[in-house]
């Protein structure tokens, strides 16, 4: 039981990191699309 919990404890972080990466990339693509549509620089 302890081994399973420790395994989950170690491997949960890369899963959360992947989720954040997805969120940030989606946000970036949205920013990029909006700036292109408006004809201005993304930053």
């Amino acid at each position: 039981m302890e081994t399973i919990l420790l395994t989950v404890y170690v491997l949960i972080w890369p899963v959360i990191v992947a989720g954040v990466l997805w969120t940030v990339c989606r946000g970036f693509l949205k920013d990029w699309a909006e700036s292109r549509k408006a004809g201005r620089s993304i930053i």
Binding site: W13, P14, V20, V24
Partner: protein
């Protein structure tokens, strides 16, 4: 291979910087990108900036030293530094929507001494951070290639300066996105690969005997008292004292502040705690760090368990972490010199062209200074102790200045100086804490605990819950703190700095006749460049002439 990666990474970021570069950069864009950055870039930039190479090494060290709870006690509190500043950030943006630095707002609120105190601590903090990142880069290059430490430091410093120099903050935040993709992508892949290559779940059974009772306890008091508690005390101090956070706060579109800060909190926490798991694995595996230096743990584990491709990814991850923080430090330093030193203290009417020149010269000088400090391997992290204490002493006066109209410049300045004067002898044990002296400082520490928790609650829930939580925290912690905590000088020093500055600032302000009009801040801080990024004219800023209390300024209005 290392040269190829360095060329690819810095060449790529230079191309990104060139893509957004303008022949005539805008001074406000150079400092805050015009206060309208979108969610994707600002969340990526906040995450990338807060993750520096040292945080990855330190989290793994915490895991190796304190066991399974070690990375939590490093990464969680570091992440909360971002989260807890968000409610104050909303207030700061509402009061000063066009600001470039926090110190600039202090100038508009109080005057020169408060501003320079905050700006000075920001400058020292950023130079330390810059140097530390160059050192990490040099060490990594020396470890993974035939090149020397000095050559590695030079390559990283030149690489970062090249892509940040022309477009400043705009280049910093856009390249942060590329760097965060590399960093987070690497973490998501490397941790599971190392885990399974090192034996998978079996390592927890075979290596359990390598851990002490404290190291295998998730609620380890050792980990909490030595690692976690000093970090909890520093949560607000580092967030308030760090211009890189403030700069992003002023850059992001106002309606996206909450979303950005929450995403960055989760991103930083998961990344740094995740890397800390490498240290926990090393502990279970019975790995001894090369040369007894725990900073070698991460590269050592990577070179043992990763093949050439993933080792390159690891190299990019560390390089991305240190470069994204270093370019943010350069941008922070240039903004402070542009807005706080030139804009508010030298120029009668700031010229945007001169401001840009000041910003670029600052970047070159800061890089040269950090190069010298890094190549001599000076132990400048000791300086961080002083800066951290100064930031701790600044927390209450800065936050109170945004909410309480009675806080005066004199109260701000005096409280910070006295708090620092008390902190130094406590932190460095210049006198004995035996008997009544220890008890007095323990009582101050208990008050400090109440103040820290009270301020955290105040940001989210307002004054009444903050007073209740603060008072309860001080009273409940007192029996555990009094007669005991003064042995932990790092923690005591930080808590005493909070307590002394708060008590003095409160006592000096509560009887003042000042009633500052917060609407004045918005009038006093505006754009410096008459032509904004979108080509529309913006009004010039009004600036106070000198050290003036709010009452005098109100009278002028």
């Amino acid at each position: 291979m290392v040269i190829l990666l360095l060329v690819l990474l810095y060449g790529g970021t230079l191309l990104v910087s060139a893509y957004i570069g303008k022949k005539k950069e805008n001074a406000d864009g150079y400092m805050t990108a015009g206060n309208k950055v979108g969610f994707g870039i600002s969340a990526a930039s906040m995450t990338a900036t807060w993750i520096w190479a040292s945080s990855m090494y330190a989290s793994a060290t915490a895991g190796y030293t304190y066991g399974i709870s070690g990375p939590i006690h490093y990464g969680l509190w570091g992440a909360l530094m971002i989260l807890f500043i968000y409610p104050f950030g909303k207030r700061i943006r509402a009061v000063a929507p066009k600001a470039h630095t926090l110190a600039e707002v202090m100038h508009a609120r109080h005057g020169r001494s408060s501003q320079l105190m905050l700006a000075g601590s920001n400058i020292v903090g950023s130079v330390i951070s810059l140097t530390s990142n160059f050192i990490a880069g040099g060490a990594l290059v020396a470890l993974l290639s035939p090149f020397s430490f000095g050559q590695g430091v030079l390559a990283v410093a030149v690489g970062v300066l090249m892509y940040t120099l022309w477009s400043g903050f705009r280049a910093s935040v856009l390249t942060d996105f590329a760097q965060v993709v590399a960093m987070l992508g690497a973490v998501a892949i490397i941790i599971p690969v190392v885990f399974f290559a090192a034996g998978g779940p079996g390592m927890f059974e075979q290596g359990a005997s390598n851990l002490t009772a404290q190291q295998s306890n998730f609620f380890s008091s050792d980990a909490f008292l030595n690692q976690g508690a000093p970090y909890i005390a520093a949560v607000l101090a580092y967030a308030i004292g760090n211009q890189t956070i403030a700069q992003r706060l002023f850059a992001v579109r106002e309606d996206l502040i909450k979303k950005t800060f929450i995403t960055a909190t989760v991103g930083y926490g998961a990344t740094v705690i995740g890397i800390g798991m490498v240290g926990v694995m090393a502990l279970y595996l019975g790995v001894s760090p090369v040369g007894g230096d725990v900073n070698n743990l991460i590269p050592q584990m990577a070179s043992t368990y990763l093949g050439p491709v993933l080792l390159s990814l690891f190299f990019v991850m560390i390089l991305g972490a240190l470069s994204s923080t270093a370019d943010s430090d350069l941008s922070a330093l240039s903004s402070i010199m542009m807005a706080d030193v030139y804009g508010k203290n030298i120029a009668k009417k700031a010229n945007p062209k001169t401001m840009l020149l000041v910003g670029r010269i600052t970047m070159i000088v800061a890089t040269a200074a950090a190069l010298i400090f890094a190549s001599q391997q000076m132990d400048i992290l000791d300086l961080l102790v002083f800066v951290g204490a100064l930031w701790g002493a600044l927390v209450f006066p800065v936050i109170a200045s945004f909410y309480w109209n009675k806080v005066t410049n004199k109260a701000f300045t005096t409280s910070v100086i006295v708090a620092l004067a008390v902190f130094i002898p406590v932190r460095f044990s210049w006198f004995s804490m035996d008997g009544a002296t220890g008890i007095v400082f323990d009582i101050l520490s208990a008050a400090g605990i109440g103040i820290v928790l009270g301020l955290m609650v105040f940001g989210f829930f307002g004054l009444t819950p903050a007073k209740i939580v603060g008072a309860l925290a001080a009273v409940v912690s007192a029996p555990f703190v009094i007669g005991f905590l003064h042995d932990y000088t790092v923690l005591t020093g930080s808590l005493v700095a909070y307590a002394v500055s708060t008590i003095i600032c409160y006592l000096m302000s509560v009887r003042s006749n000042q009633s500052f009009d917060f609407a004045l801040i918005k009038q006093r801080i505006g754009d410096y460049d008459p032509v904004a990024d979108d080509g529309q004219a913006t009004p010039d800023s009004e600036t106070p002439d000198d050290d003036l209390d709010g009452s005098t300024l109100s009278a002028r209005k």
